[in-house]
């Protein structure tokens, strides 16, 4: 289980937790980022800029500091588990 901002470009994972206050939680949920959702990192902006992710058919950008609050389990890990 790792924070979304540590994901590499191309990695996919299942969201297991979001540590944020209610405002941000609502906003993320409205973008489709909620527990159980599968998220993929499409790219990261240079110079520590935002990350660009896809969840379902929605694409979202967010700052790394916000991505840090989202914990994900890599899909590869999930598949490897018995």
């Amino acid at each position: 289980m790792i924070a979304l901002d540590h994901f590499q470009v191309g990695d996919q994972g299942k969201i297991t937790g979001i540590q944020a206050e209610i405002e941000l939680r609502q906003r993320l949920a409205a973008m489709g980022l909620r527990e159980g959702g599968v998220v993929q990192v499409l790219r990261k902006a240079s110079m520590g800029g935002p990350i660009h992710v896809r969840v379902g058919t929605t694409e979202v950008i967010m700052r790394r500091i916000d991505a840090q609050r989202i914990t994900v389990v890599p899909l590869l890990e999930l598949m490897a588990a018995p």
Binding site: M31, S46, M62
Partner: protein
């Protein structure tokens, strides 16, 4: 009149639908108790007239953002008769919670699944009958952009106005209904968008491409806009000399002055902005509707976040270099109030084309051809530095409460109809809200520069001249003499007026004016004057726009006072340092 409201997440095409249904009749207006203006229009539904209102896009009805408050306040106070719930048909999963909230308002609901064309391109299958039955809500598929499905919507609105409020649906019930009503393929992505993003959001190429595009956009707006603006001025000037002056020649000089230099000048000042605003929104429409604006935010965020702003602020700041007024109007794309105010506070520092005219004259008079570009460049640099400094200083006051989480829409082709309508709406809004304020400002300056009776208009004998005289102790340490101070007072109307004012004050024009300037000051005071003219109070049209956009006198006062203080400090520091060096070196 029955009220029908459009509710939905941002970017679901609410305004597009409103424009589609009502065309050019839509108007931006104020509502009691609401801090933002809403777009609305009358619409014939069946045999009765109804009002269709576009509410701000929201993510959650129990949310905390300003827009969400606006929508809840509106629903409570205005009690609309029907809700059109707009959904993006290609992203249904994340809009279900909002749908559940909308059904529990005690108001009839019609579901509108927009962007049906995009959904089917993604391979998404939507079964309207199944969904409608599962949810117990009337619904239709639609493409607001191209107009398919509007006939069906008309029918549903007609029925909806007579219908009862639906049963409140729980989120789980909504989810169940959609499981059987909408099929999304496992791999659904916009292939073309992905390919374009590989280039436009490229780690190294992205930023250069962004700057190139902004340059193009900027050149486009002002290459086309400047001649149009000049044409408009010519039109108004000819009307004045050909028709109004002969017509009014019978009147006493004072009345002529009031009507022509006061009122008529005010009207032509307002009119000169019309072509620029239309063009700006046409071009901003391209950037926004194609989906590039949120990508610009992605590219510029690393840099701008350090100053408390984001990439969209940067786009508006850049546009401000052409003219501050449309750039201020453009900040409306930023939905967070704190961030929007912060951006609005920085835009007046952008060296606009009106100020550029003044600087070109002064630089040509005072510096060699080799020095000139560097002097101008230094002024642009100061302009950007002041904007960033302001942002850093005020970012604690105007905190961006909304997290930077933005949707990246697929690339879309904007339609000309939409963009023209938007530009037209903005111009109408600008004219109806700011004309009075701008006229008042122009009139005030006319009075100051023409009274007391008997004084030569625009001279140091007038009230404005006396004002300059009183301000001398403040501005003398900056190397700015009384004549220049008087020109700055005129510059309040519009910055380019400074040149005309100097011509009146020195009694020369063209080369003779340049000679008079050279004769009356050295390069240090000239540069100090330019610094001051760059930073000091925004022009009256800019102030009117700030006032109208924020509806706050306090903020408007701050946006006038803060640049004044900064201008004074910067010019003082420059002038005194330069004089000290000259004395000791």
């Amino acid at each position: 009149m029955k009220k029908i409201v459009l509710i939905g997440m941002p970017n679901t095409g609410k305004s597009t639908l409103l424009n589609r249904l009502t065309g050019a009749h839509a108007k931006v207006g104020n509502w009691p108790g609401l801090t933002v203006s809403l777009l609305s229009a009358r619409l014939l539904v069946g045999d009765q007239m109804a009002q269709l209102i576009d509410l701000p896009g929201i993510y959650d009805l129990n949310g905390y953002s300003d827009d969400e408050q606006v929508v809840t306040t509106y629903l409570q106070t205005q009690k609309p008769d029907l809700i059109l719930f707009m959904m993006n048909a290609s992203q249904v999963d994340r809009q279900l919670n909002l749908l559940s909230q909308v059904t529990s308002q005690g108001i009839p609901v019609v579901m509108v699944m927009n962007m049906a064309d995009e959904a089917s391109a993604l391979g998404i299958t939507i079964k309207p009958e199944v969904l409608s039955q599962n949810l117990g809500l009337p619904m239709c598929l639609l493409s607001a952009k191209y107009g398919q499905g509007t006939a069906q919507l008309q029918k549903l609105m007609r029925e909806g106005l007579k219908a009862q409020a639906p049963q409140a649906l729980t989120p789980s019930k909504v989810e169940q209904a959609f499981q059987t009503g909408v099929m999304v393929p496992a791999q659904a992505s916009h292939q073309l968008t992905e390919r374009i993003d590989k280039v436009l959001l490229h780690p190294w190429l992205g930023l250069p491409i962004f700057f190139a595009m902004m340059l193009l956009l900027f050149e486009g707006v002002f290459a086309i806009g400047k001649p149009l603006q000049d044409g408009m001025s010519w039109l108004f000037a000819s009307l004045r000399t050909e028709a109004l002056e002969p017509l009014l020649s019978g009147l006493p000089a004072m009345a002529q002055g009031l009507l022509l230099d006061g009122l008529y000048n005010g009207i032509s000042t307002v009119a000169s902005f019309v072509p620029l605003i239309i063009l700006f929104f046409l071009f901003l429409g391209i950037v926004e509707d194609t989906g590039y604006l949120s990508r610009a935010a992605f590219l510029m965020d690393a840099l701008m976040s350090k100053f408390g702003m984001d990439g969209r602020s940067f786009v508006m700041l850049l546009m401000g270099f052409g003219c501050n007024v449309p750039a201020l109007l453009g900040t409306r794309v930023i939905r967070s109030k704190g961030l929007r105010y912060l951006t609005m506070l920085t835009i007046p520092f952008s060296l606009c084309s009106a100020r550029l005219q003044v600087f070109v004259l002064f630089i040509a008079a005072m510096f060699t051809t080799e020095q000139a570009p560097w002097v101008l460049f230094s002024l642009y640099l100061v302009s950007i530095l002041m904007a960033m400094l302001t942002s850093v200083i005020f970012k604690k006051q105007y905190v961006n409460v909304d997290a930077f989480v933005l949707e990246i829409p697929p690339y879309r082709l904007p339609t000309l109809r939409q963009m023209v309508l938007k530009g037209w709406q903005e111009v109408r809004h600008f004219l109806s809200r700011t004309t009075r304020f701008i006229m008042l400002g122009v009139l005030l300056i006319w009075v100051l520069t023409n009274f007391p009776q008997g004084a030569t208009a625009g001279s140091l004998e007038t009230w404005a001249g006396q004002l300059s005289h009183w301000m001398a102790p403040l501005l003398q340490p900056l190397g700015i003499n009384e004549q220049l101070t008087l020109a700055l007072v005129f510059g309040f109307v519009a910055k380019e007026v400074v040149i005309g004012a100097l011509a009146v004050i020195y009694g020369h024009e063209g080369q003779a004016l340049i000679d008079a300037i050279v004769h009356n000051m050295d390069w240090v005071s000239a540069y100090s004057f330019m610094l001051f003219a760059l930073i000091y109070t925004p022009c009256v049209s800019t102030i009117a726009t700030i006032r109208n956009e924020t509806k706050s006198w306090t903020f408007t006062a701050l946006s006038v006072a803060w640049p004044l203080c900064v201008a004074w400090l910067i010019s003082l520091t420059f002038y005194q340092t330069a004089m000290w060096i000259r004395l000791h070196a």
